[in-house]
């Protein structure tokens, strides 16, 4: 008996219109746990040998949505979305919060793996112990809000008709894509609710490439049994208490940082990272709170933290916008990085980005890049059909829609910042890579390393297996990026634990659920390392359109070497010599060689001989 897991995953082959189940092997679960770890294992087993030739947007790629053992028990219910990433060409484990993970686990599945490509738009409906592929013709083309409404009504009405005597049917949970995913915009997100996104990795485009509009789940069963309910209950209460005690996140969410990170730590992007400092008090959280929040406490299933706030604009040019706080990343990327310093404008842009199913970080990074090209006259009004001037919320909303629908210059921008810069640079015969703020195809998170006052270190983005993903940054701390892989693999929300888990409470919790002993040492040296080696190998293999070279691409964006033009650390920039030294140390800490390639002996120690062989053949 494996506790904490449903014990099987659902397999859907859209090309063959076939549904099956795969039991999960206890040995594999002990080695990879779940979520991001299990995704890396499944992807490597099935695609590893021909990784470089797999087109992320072709039918051979897999789309995975995997829960973990503590999902549903530990505060903050998330699911990890993965596959071969159309942005990094590696493996990104992108987690998104919401009730879908609960419904899926209660239906009897730890995850779902989707293969192939449907001929016509479809959605997958998962219910207790079964699933079906359904026609999604009516859903194709709908925005996020419209999709939620249409699917909710369709499913609830149908269930009420079928089971007339059951009583009120609770709404189903769903992962879905917006128009951006349908158009295979490389930075499209897999969405849940209205503003929840698995943004990094671009898996919305993978869903779109499979003609899969949504995965809907509605179950009535219980969560899987745990090893020790007696031990688990008091631990759950402890986690609730800790979440409640994190008062700032509970009161303001991460949105309190939209002013603070710019004004105090000078590490918030302004106008495509031309600056990282602002002192716009109009953008302080009190203005979001008093002008736009209609609901202060909003959380997903089982969360006592409640960092989300429901925000809306009811009148004026931005009327109709609905989103959460927005959180810090979207305040920065859909706000300050576009020169927007009013809450309403920021909420408007965030709302459109959400509704289109774009990643509010990665797609908005491209929007900032495009707006800078407009500022510099590289792109003009003719390219856009309007003028994307810094601070113009309406124009930025139009820009988001241009990308999502691949119209005009949006066709190129839809390929993501890096690929757009290469394509436009070739077209215009200018080096545009000097203006891109991304690492390995992934726009960086909204945390700059230049001032040295924020949390991002010099190696954070360059050495991450997720590229520019701030939630999986490499760090010089013990364990490096393996520490980020804990939350993504056990699958819980790190924010609800105050960002960094406490080993003294997390591992006993894990044991109460699964019955298995685990500690930081085993995680850092074995499980986490195994996951990162596979992810690193996949990232170095890359392809088919881009192959990353560690010497060139394990690097900060050029802009981070330009001195900060303003703020308390004016003149400060990333010190390249220091960065190179930290990078070497990090490689060695991770058992990667001087070129950043996982070492043969460590791969063999961890039972990853097949990874070693592929690296030997293609990379070393």
């Amino acid at each position: 008996m494996v506790y904490g897991y449903a014990g099987k995953i659902l397999e859907v082959n859209l090309s063959k219109d076939r549904i099956s189940e795969t039991p999960l092997d206890e040995k594999v679960l002990r080695q990879y746990v779940g979520g991001r770890g299990l995704a890396a294992k499944i992807l490597w087993d099935r695609l590893g040998k021909r990784w470089r030739s797999i087109n992320p947007l072709g039918p051979k790629n897999l789309l995975l949505a995997l829960t973990g053992p503590v999902t549903g028990y530990l505060v903050g219910t998330r699911i990890c979305v993965s596959g071969k990433s159309p942005t990094s060409n590696g493996i990104v484990g992108s987690t998104v919060s919401g009730e879908f993970a609960m419904e899926l686990k209660c239906a009897g599945y730890d995850g779902i793996v989707v293969n192939g490509r449907a001929e016509k738009p479809v959605y997958i409906l998962v219910t207790d112990g079964k699933a079906e592929i359904r026609d999604a013709k009516k859903l194709w083309g709908l925005s996020g809000r419209e999709t939620i409404k249409a699917l909710n009504n369709e499913i609830i009405d149908e269930f009420e008709r079928k089971e007339r005597r059951y009583g009120e049917w609770k709404e189903p949970a769903m992962l879905y894509i917006g128009p951006a995913g349908e158009k295979m915009v490389r930075t499209a997100a897999v969405m849940q609710k209205v503003s929840h996104a698995a943004g990094y990795g671009g898996y919305g485009a993978v869903m779109g490439s499979k003609k899969l509009k949504a995965i809907v789940a509605k179950a009535t069963g219980p969560l899987p049994e745990v090893a020790s309910p007696e031990e688990l209950r008091p631990l759950m209460e402890k986690f609730y208490e800790a979440s409640v005690a994190y008062d700032s996140l509970r009161r303001w969410g991460t949105g309190a940082s939209g002013y603070r990170v710019g004004a105090m730590t000078s590490s918030e992007p302004q106008r495509n990272w031309q600056e990282e400092y602002h002192n716009e008090r109009s953008f302080s959280v009190v203005n979001f709170e008093t002008k736009t929040w209609v609901k202060r406490y909003w959380s997903d299933y089982g969360c006592a933290m409640s960092c989300m706030k429901l925000a809306t604009v009811k009148q004026g040019p931005y009327a109709g916008a609905i989103t959460d706080n927005p959180d810090y990343e979207l305040q920065a990327y859909c706000g300050t990085n576009l020169g927007i310093y009013d809450p309403e404008g920021n909420i408007y842009v965030s709302s459109i980005v959400d509704d289109m199913g774009l990643s509010g970080i990665d797609s908005a990074n491209t929007m900032g890049f495009a707006a800078e090209l407009f500022q510099r006259g590289v792109l003009t009004r003719e390219d856009f059909g309007f003028e994307p001037k810094w601070g113009d919320g309406i124009a930025m909303g139009r820009l988001a829609e241009l990308i999502a629908r691949r119209r005009r210059v949006g066709k190129v921008l839809a390929e993501g910042t890096y690929r757009a810069a290469v394509a436009l640079g070739n077209m215009k015969e200018i080096d545009l890579l000097q203006y891109v703020v991304q690492v390995k195809g992934v726009g960086t998170g909204a945390h700059g390393p230049r001032s040295g006052l924020g949390f991002m270190t010099l190696i954070g983005y360059p050495c991450s297996t997720h590229g520019g993903d701030h939630t999986s940054a490499a760090t010089p701390m013990p364990g490096g990026e393996t520490v980020s892989a804990v939350g993504d693999s056990l699958v819980f929300c790190t924010a609800s634990l105050g960002w960094r888990y406490n080993p003294a409470t997390l591992w006993p919790f894990f044991k109460a659920v699964t019955g298995w002993e685990l500690n930081d040492e085993t995680w850092i040296n074995e499980i986490g390392r195994r996951i990162l080696h596979i992810q690193r190998a996949a990232l170095l293999l890359g392809g088919p359109d881009v192959v990353w070279d560690p010497a060139k691409d394990d690097e900060n964006p050029p802009r981070f070497y330009e001195p900060l033009p303003s703020g308390p650390k004016k003149g400060s920039a990333v010190d390249r010599a220091k960065f190179v030294e930290m990078r070497s140390k990090y490689y060695s800490d991770m058992s990667w060689d001087e070129r950043g390639i996982p070492k043969s002996e460590d791969l063999k120690r961890l039972g990853l001989r097949n990874v070693d062989q592929v690296l030997e053949k293609f990379v070393r």
Partner: protein
């Protein structure tokens, strides 16, 4: 027992028994499987008599009762014998949305028995204004 509905993200609607003064569910039961707890006023389900016919669901103005997904009986909140667990945890985690209160004499609690979709529609307009009409 409380269930939380969310037809539109962020618009959570807790849905639970309001203990109507006239107990239409109890009156509707053809098998005498429902009663009233004298101490708490909560509806009691006598599981040995319940046939899972579902008549009480439609008798309830808010369609609050629902069937157990795999056992043959109806589920209605019994207020945990007067010390409801849902209110305790809600207070503990600081939401204070569900709390235990003394029943006021001049309140018509039965009017709170409303279908969650109708509550959600009201909330949507309350929160979002005109556009709230379109989201559910």
């Amino acid at each position: 027992m409380v269930r939380v509905f969310m037809y539109f993200p962020g618009l959570e609607v807790p849905h639970l028994c309001t203990q109507c003064h006239d107990y239409p569910c109890v009156q509707s039961c053809p098998f005498k499987a429902l009663g009233v707890d004298e101490k708490t006023g909560a509806v009691e389900v006598y599981r040995d008599k319940c046939t899972a016919c579902g008549i009480c669901i439609n008798a309830c103005p808010g369609q609050v009762p629902h069937l157990h997904p795999n056992r043959k009986h109806i589920l209605i909140c019994d207020l945990c014998g007067g010390d409801p667990a849902c209110a305790k945890i809600c207070t503990k985690v600081g939401y204070n949305c569900l709390t235990t209160v003394n029943r006021g004499q001049d309140i018509t609690y039965d009017t709170y028995a409303i279908r969650p979709r109708d509550v959600a529609k009201n909330l949507a307009i309350n929160f979002f204004g005109e556009m709230g009409k379109e989201v559910i």
